[in-house]
Amino acid sequence: MTDLSKSPMPVLSATGLMKSFGGVKAVNDASIEVAQGSITGLIGPNGAGKTTLFNLLSNFIEPDQGRVLFDGEPIERLRPYQIAQRGLTRTFQVARVLSRLSVMDNMLLAAQQQTGEKFWSTWFLPGRIAQEERDARDRALEILESVGLAAKANDYAGALSGGQRKLLEIARALMTRPKLILLDEPAAGVNPTLIKQICEYITYWNRQGLTFLVIEHNMDVIMSICDRVWVLAEGKNLAEGTPAEIQTNSQVLEAYLGK
């Protein structure tokens, strides 16, 4: 019934995730699956455990129980940085830019497998590092241009406006060359024009082959960009389906609006 039309092999699949904080079961036996090449939405009322689920997937919070397969391999025991190195990059609900670094440095930092990030190679491989920096800089400028931040490249990231920070955070995530990006409320606190832009960027990069898992409260965003939607309520899976199916699902409406 749940026919994942684009690919039979999910890039991410998590099953039986559990996490309690004290007596509160924030995530209680939740599962999720993200098909390769899809834009998958994750919705649910406030306090449903969406962000906690993101934290469990990226292991910023260790799950009490459950299994997470990324690209066919279990990642629930890896450190967050190892998960990021494997190509699963997350963003944060409130955009977190590195204020006292330039916009360009924010981008360059995100490049993976940099020779120059090893202490000793600073001394022994300066040529190779310079070359990598040039390549990364070109790529970073390209991405910054595509989100309209190229003119700000040399400004402090802390001097950006709220919307620009959101863009920078997504651009920075792209810079890691991820296989899957977890976006936590990309449209929160952003003006309608920019929301439209962000949606365009996401669908654009999706067509370039990038997979997204998006938490979002803005239903227009979810309905317009997502291939599939998962609904979470009180830490449990409530429903799963195409946007159209979810819109008419009585359980979902009940969870959001009450009986």
Partner: protein, 376 residues
């Protein structure tokens, strides 16, 4: 006070040599802290522990017959090893806890030095250990060579300072900026004075071989360490440190092994402080555990904050300001109050200076003000 600026009397030169060496040694020590706090955001309140290890290792090894050129790196590596131990036990802690644990470790190291008399000679102190170049009797040609070396070091520093001065002078539109430009102009003049003093001291090397030798070695060391640090903090490696300082969760989310980088920062900072420990011991020429009280750590904090955290040149300038202050307030001893009251007064005044600085220029003398106006 004007004697310091114009006199070429032997006594004054001797005292200025002591001051320059102190600036170099405290600058070196604070550069280590600046790497840890200014660049990585690690709150290290136990920095003196690295110095203790460096000082004791170097002096005890050299007393056992190990050449100084070997003893110092071993001391520095042992200090880095202490950084590794400290890091493994504390870096997973939140910042404020890290601060408490590090201050505890530094006291622990000092108490070990006090009580393990079989190794460290305890309260009796380590005495009459070899000093660098103390038996060196250079020929005229060698002395001219030494003068040439420090001329290059001072030349590079003054060139940078001078360019900054010209740059500021051109951009100076309001009174405050003009003051800053005048300030850096005066610094250039002061630098020339210190270069002259150093050159005279090295040329008359035999007047005091131990002090002049220490001057020469400390200037070279601080120049090399400064150059190396500038290089690493501007590398992609340094970029990761700055990212950790700003927000370590972001660094993790972008695939950086934050713990490993913090450890490296703590160890490298410890290594540098270990070298500074050797110089500290040589300048004191007798090493007692009481030389390594937590106050020394806070002197490094004062120096770093004065000059501007996250700025290596600023840290060295901070060391200069700190010692200039110490020299100028020596005259307070002429006041009709007891010596311990003078000491307390000096500390009170430096506290006041720090408070004024925090209000007027919270980023430190060379820090970048723009950075403070940024939102998180």
């Amino acid at each position: 006070m004007f004697n310091y600026l114009f006199s070429f009397d032997t006594g004054i030169i001797g005292y200025l040599v002591f001051l320059i060496t102190s600036v170099a040694l405290y600058g070196l020590f604070s550069l280590g802290l600046n790497l840890q706090w200014g660049y990585t955001g690690l709150i290290n309140f136990g920095h003196v522990a690295f110095m203790t290890v460096g000082a004791y290792s170097t002096t005890l090894l050299s007393l056992a017959g190990v050449p100084l050129l070997v003893a110092v790196p071993i001391g520095a590596m042992l200090a880095a090893l202490l950084g590794l131990l400290m890091g493994f036990s504390t870096l997973r802690l939140r910042e404020d806890y890290l601060a408490i644990v590090t201050i505890g470790v530094s006291e622990l190291v000092r108490l070990v030095a006090l009580n393990e008399g079989w190794l460290t000679k305890g309260a009796f102190g380590v005495q009459s250990f070899p000093l660098p170049l103390e038996n060196f009797r250079p020929t005229v040609a060698t002395r001219i060579g030494m003068v040439a070396v420090i001329t290059v070091i001072f030349g590079l520093a003054l060139w940078k300072l001078g360019r900054r001065f010209l740059h500021q002078l051109r951009g100076a539109k309001n009174l405050q900026k003009q003051m800053v430009a005048i300030g850096s102009g005066l610094l250039v003049l002061l630098g020339i004075r210190l270069w002259l003093v150093s050159a005279i001291a090295l040329y008359n090397f035999r007047s005091s071989p131990a002090a002049n030798g220490l001057l020469f070695v400390s200037l070279i060391t601080v120049a090399i360490v400064f150059w190396a640090l500038e290089r690493v903090v501007k590398s992609p490696w340094g970029r990761v440190l700055k990212a950790i300082r700003e927000d370590e969760e972001v660094a993790k989310a972008l695939g950086k092994n934050v713990f490993a980088y913090k450890l490296q920062s703590l160890m490298l900072g410890g290594f540098i402080a270990g070298i500074a420990g050797a110089f500290f011991a040589w300048q004191l020429s007798t090493v007692y555990p009481t030389n390594f009280e937590p106050l020394v750590t806070f002197q490094a904090w004062i120096i770093m904050i004065l000059g501007g955290a996250g700025n290596n040149a600023g840290t060295l300038l901070g060391a200069g300001i700190y010692w200039a202050y110490t020299a100028l307030t020596r005259d307070l001893e002429r006041l009709p109050i007891a010596a311990d009251q003078v000491g307390a007064l000096r500390i009170m005044v430096i506290g006041l200076i720090l408070m004024v600085l925090m209000i007027w220029r919270p980023q430190g003398v060379l820090g970048n003000k723009d950075e403070l106006t940024l939102g998180k």
